[in-house]
């Protein structure tokens, strides 16, 4: 299986990449290639030009400043899974990155490539949503003309393989608030046995004060066009003591948050995945709150 022929350009800077994008209709950005190349090899897509941004070092790196964790778009899953900055400030992302694919996929796959691809079965969109992440996007305007914009994870994902990213824009960085001592976050997933993709994934970030949940961000993904926030679940959790009973009665409400647009396949039907959403949410909250070992 080989791709059809295409042109290949190496960009040495973000602005050059954007220039190439805007001059070459249909051109695509190549980061690690773990989303794009398999599709091209299977000839599911044919792309006239690939613009390789792999050499742009300004897009790499992890830093923490003013309680904001910043991750360059070209940072690999492995780098995230091995970063103490991520572990200490966003443990949920650290663990999720370690659960993506396999070691080789993590060595090549990048957070920016993953998000831009917006595969509904991917873990990161769900996690970044509950982490209230913001994505920095660079467009043709150029830095001088304010060509950079910021979009929240809530708004970025539009549909399966569809994002807010414009034709001539590049995702450059992901930022999120670091988790505070009173915040508990967890991502639980049922992984497909072949790919480790999420059959159902559930992410939670809970703020707990004096045993009472004061704030919550909850989302499920893997089987919906984009990760779905569990707004009614969040409402039901807030103000409650996080005991088994309250968690169970809140998580079950995820069914109401899910629209009718849920996916199934031969491995797991939509009906099953819908039912598992509450289960995985429960697992996530149990782990986040330390109740897991009681069960």
């Amino acid at each position: 299986m080989f791709a059809t022929e295409f042109e290949y350009q190496r960009a040495t800077s973000v602005s050059e990449a954007i220039q190439l994008l805007s001059n070459n209709p249909g051109a695509k950005i190549l980061a690690g290639g773990h989303s794009l190349l398999p599709m091209m090899k299977l000839r599911l897509t044919s792309i006239p030009m690939l613009i390789d941004i792999g050499g742009i070092n300004e897009l790499r790196g992890i830093s923490v400043e003013n309680n904001i964790l910043r991750i360059g778009a070209l940072t690999t899953h492995a780098e995230i899974a091995e970063s103490y900055d991520v572990k200490d400030n966003a443990g949920i992302l650290w663990e999720t990155a370690y659960g993506i694919g396999d070691p080789q996929v993590r060595n090549r796959g990048t957070i920016g490539g993953n998000i831009s691809h917006a595969d509904p079965a991917s873990d990161l969109p769900t996690v970044l949503k509950v982490m209230d992440a913001k994505f920095t996007i660079q467009g043709t305007g150029g830095l001088m003309r304010g060509g950079s914009r910021v979009v929240s994870a809530d708004d970025f994902f539009i549909g399966p393989f569809e994002t807010d990213l414009g034709e001539n824009e590049i995702l450059t960085a992901i930022e999120m608030p670091v988790l505070m001592a009173n915040q508990h976050a967890e991502y639980a997933k049922m992984a497909h046995p072949a790919t480790s993709f999420a059959v159902v994934g559930a992410g939670v970030v809970l703020t707990v004060e004096d045993d009472v949940c004061t704030a919550a961000r909850v989302a499920v993904g893997g089987f919906t066009p984009v990760p779905t926030r569990g707004l009614t679940v969040e409402q039901a959790l807030i103000g409650k003591v996080l005991n088994e009973e309250n968690i169970a009665s809140a998580t079950i409400l995820i069914h109401g948050d899910l629209g009718s647009d849920v996916f199934g396949d031969v491995f797991a039907s939509a009906e099953y995945r819908q039912a598992m959403a509450a289960i995985e949410l429960k697992h996530a909250i149990f782990h986040a709150t330390g109740l897991a070992h009681h069960n």
Binding site: M1, H192, A194, V266, F267, S269
Partner: protein
């Protein structure tokens, strides 16, 4: 012998080349001027070909030739089926290497492009325009036999490929007299073997000599040559098949496929070497599948738990055409072992082989025997529930008592040797079966579901006596041959017609020959896999390599030893009857000082300066070994699983494999075979499934959808063994290549159903995906 290497777990001699990247598999072969072939395959399950336009492809960059079904007509004969079970009215439909008028499954080849490189060949495939008229299709074998189902072949009404019935005893009487009858419907889902090395062929035609050399990913190069001769019309003496390094087979590299023949055709047409290598996606569609049975099965028993009868009605999917050994799998290799390790009074297998718009099926690890073991052992568990007895005890009650020299069972087989109960006790003891049952009861009280599956099996392998092969319609013999040759320096070279491809027989054979001849194991080389320098052989499958292949070697080695002994007597000036052999030395009885080593005899025989009257020079022998009977390994396996009732997720907590394959030449290799087989069987129970949609499209057509067993999903396997020699071959060995997959699928399945029994679950279709388990729990009965 004092220094026997038989029984020693020495490191494999195959490994140094494999761990350094130094081995040459078929796709690694590069020849000067080599071209690359790519197959255009039907995207449809069933369609009429109205026309094929190859104009653009022919003119594309790098393209040397494009051939369609019309081009091979009259040049390549059809791909033959070589196993025709007798009395089954088998319809031998024509299987053209390239479809010309009709395609019958997704993946059927319709054209081949030959180009200067792989990429250009694949590019040109997209330029071929085929006008298809889509026809209705059917993939499920039971549905294919229903009235009104789409018909695949004119000669096969109702898509019936054959109807094979085998009855031992009077099943009707056994079932009428039964106190208890238990029944089940079993779906043996389609599986895709997925050897890690995709199929590949490199063909090179030498016009001047009229000789074809074909590197092929084959488990049986001599059969490949035989059938290639039938397809191409070339004499066997003009075909050389090379399969010296093959990356796994599991049955999928037994058949002779269209692709290898097409590749040969291309080379013969173009006079240049041609390589074709399947991509994995291509392999999913065009390499044989396994299993695919819809089974209605039942078991009769007395109130006391004595099993009195087993019978089945089976629709066995053959796919669109009959693969090389396809029809033998659900018949001869399946229906004759319904007694399993038990004394059962009556058995009947009633098997329909059915054409459907799916990839042809053939032998996949275990081939017919996993299906048989599954149905017997499933029914025994159902019987235990029905009778309210412990499933292990019920099995014990029915086991055939120890026998050493043959035991006839009603299905017509004579088991070689068996001592089933001690191994069962060993496994139950090792597992602490009664403690597990107590734990299970306690866990259930807390709402947790763990289950225990216990399986007793025996199987038929070491195929087999050739007379029987002929009687059961196998289109070849099942003997093996070997040439054992001493070089003048006392080193030994063995040429075998058998063709291991990962099983490690270069090592085990060398161990055997080393022992027989009293030479160091490193002084023995084993050559196999190339028809030009090995004697005829029937190949590696059916766990026959060691029991049959080594049989030939041992006989040849013993012939050599006798010749060397006579030569030694001559040189020692002793009476022949006074010279005896021990540990590589020939000595005169009573005077151990007067001795000659076998290596000295090798030198003396090869220089031939002083031979006894009438003795030919040289020290080598060939032998042909046709075993007097099959061999019957047996065992008890036990699995412990935990099932999460909330999401249906299964964890195999423990797996214990107790197997008796007779004396173990290399226990390390035996254990490795068990591990691999068990895991493949677990794959069937839990993950693997070739699914076709309603239009005959293979939905699980890549490794992203077809879940293969992976390291992080599996437990360690605890291996135990006993040793019961077979009286049927010189070494007493049985086979072990398939025992794991024969036993483990039903063992894990039974454990899962056992776990869920309190929830009212009696059956779940495989694979036991979380959803299917969850649905079954929700419904509280068989789903």
């Amino acid at each position: 012998m004092t220094t026997r290497i038989f029984g020693s777990g020495i490191r494999r001699r195959e490994d140094p080349r494999l761990i350094t990247g130094g081995a040459t598999y078929t796709d690694d072969v590069q020849l000067p001027g080599m071209l690359y072939a790519a197959m255009l395959r039907s995207p449809h399950a069933h369609a009429k070909i109205n026309s094929i336009d190859i104009t653009s492809a022919v003119g594309a960059r790098g393209v040397v030739a494009v051939y369609t079904g019309a081009d091979i007509e009259g040049v390549l004969n059809g791909i033959p089926c070589a196993w025709v079970p007798p009395g089954a009215d088998l319809v031998a439909v024509t299987h053209p290497a390239i479809a010309k008028d009709v395609v019958r499954y997704q993946g059927d080849a319709v054209a081949v492009v030959v180009a200067e490189d792989r990429y250009q060949a694949e590019d040109a495939l997209e330029l071929i325009n085929v006008d298809y008229e889509i026809l209705p299709s059917v993939t499920n074998p039971e549905a294919a036999m229903k009235p009104g189902a789409p018909q695949l072949h004119e000669d096969a009404p109702n898509n019936q490929a054959f109807h094979w019935v085998s009855e031992g005893g009077d099943t009707e009487a056994a079932f009428s007299a039964a106190d208890v009858i238990v029944k089940d419907t079993i779906i043996q889902q389609r599986l895709i073997p997925n050897a890690m090395e995709p199929r590949s062929a490199v063909a090179t035609w030498t016009k001047a000599t009229g000789e074809l050399t074909l590197w092929s990913t084959s488990q049986n190069p001599h059969i490949c040559r035989f059938l290639a001769s039938l397809v191409t019309g070339l004499g066997e003496h003009k075909i050389r098949v090379i399969a010296t390094e093959v990356g796994g087979g599991f049955g999928s590299k037994i058949p002779v496929y269209a692709d290898e023949m097409i590749t040969s055709f291309c080379s013969m047409q173009l006079g240049r070497p041609v390589k074709w290598t399947a991509t994995r996606s291509e392999g999913f569609q065009s390499t044989i599948h396994g299993r695919d049975h819809v089974e209605y099965v039942e078991m009769a028993a007395t109130q006391e738990g004595k099993i009195t009868g087993v019978r089945s009605k089976i629709y066995a999917g053959m796919g669109a055409y009959l693969s090389t050994a396809g029809p033998g799998v659900p018949t001869i290799l399946h229906g004759l072992i319904y007694c399993g390790p038990y004394d059962i009074g009556a058995t009947k297998a009633d098997v329909y082989g059915v054409f459907s718009n799916a990839t042809p099926t053939d032998a996949y690890r275990g081939a017919g025997r996993p299906e048989a073991t599954f149905l017997i052992e499933r029914l025994v568990d159902l019987l235990a529930v029905e009778l309210g007895t412990d499933p292990a005890e019920l099995r014990r009650k029915n086991l055939i008592p120890k026998f050493e020299e043959g035991h006839d069972v009603i299905s017509g087989l004579t088991y070689d040797s068996g001592d089933y109960e001690p191994l069962m006790d060993m496994v139950l003891g090792h597992a602490d079966y009664s403690a597990l049952r107590q734990e299970q009861a306690q866990m259930r009280e807390n709402g947790h579901y763990m289950g225990i599956g216990v399986t007793c099996y025996n199987e038929i392998c070491g195929l087999g006596p050739s007379q029987v092969a002929g009687a059961v319609g196998f289109g070849g013999g099942l003997w093996e041959s070997a040439i054992v040759r001493f070089h003048p320096t006392g080193k030994v070279h063995v040429y075998s017609g058998i063709s291991p491809h990962g099983q490690g027989e270069e090592t085990t054979f060398a161990q055997i020959v080393s022992d027989e001849l009293g030479v160091d194991v490193d002084d023995v080389t084993i050559t196999h896999g190339d028809t030009s320098n090995t004697p005829m052989g029937w190949g590696t499958y059916g766990s026959r390599t060691t029991s049959v292949g080594a049989g030939a070697m041992v006989i040849a080695a013993r012939k050599i030893k006798e010749k060397a002994r006579l030569l030694a007597a001559h040189l020692l000036e002793a009476a022949e009857s006074d010279v005896e052999y021990r540990d590589g030395q020939f000595s005169v009885k009573g005077s151990p000082d007067q001795s000659k080593s076998i290596q000295e005899m090798a030198t003396m025989a090869n220089v031939a300066w002083n031979l006894p009257e009438g003795m030919e020079p040289g020290l080598e022998a060939s032998a042909f070994y046709d075993p007097p009977n099959f061999v019957y390994p047996f065992g008890t396996h036990l699995a412990v699983v935990d099932v999460d009732k909330d999401n249906g997720h299964i964890v195999v907590r423990r797996y214990i494999a107790g197997d008796d394959c007779g004396p173990q030449i290399n226990p390390m290799i035996v254990e490795g075979q068990v591990h691999g087989g068990v895991v493949q069987g677990i794959g069937q129970a839990l993950w693997e499934h070739a699914i076709y949609d309603d239009n005959g499209q293979l939905v699980t057509g890549s490794m992203t959808d077809y879940a293969l067993p992976r390291a992080h999903l599996l437990p360690n396997i605890e291996s135990l063994s006993t040793v019961t020699p077979s009286p049927h071959n010189p070494l007493g060995v049985k086979g072990v290549g398939e025992t794991g997959s024969i036993a483990s699928t039903v063992t894990v399945y039974n454990a899962v159903i056992d776990a869920l029994r309190p929830l009212g679950v009696t059956r779940i279709d495989m694979p036991l995906t979380p959803e299917k388990v969850w649905q079954a729990i929700r419904q509280g009965h068989g789903s």
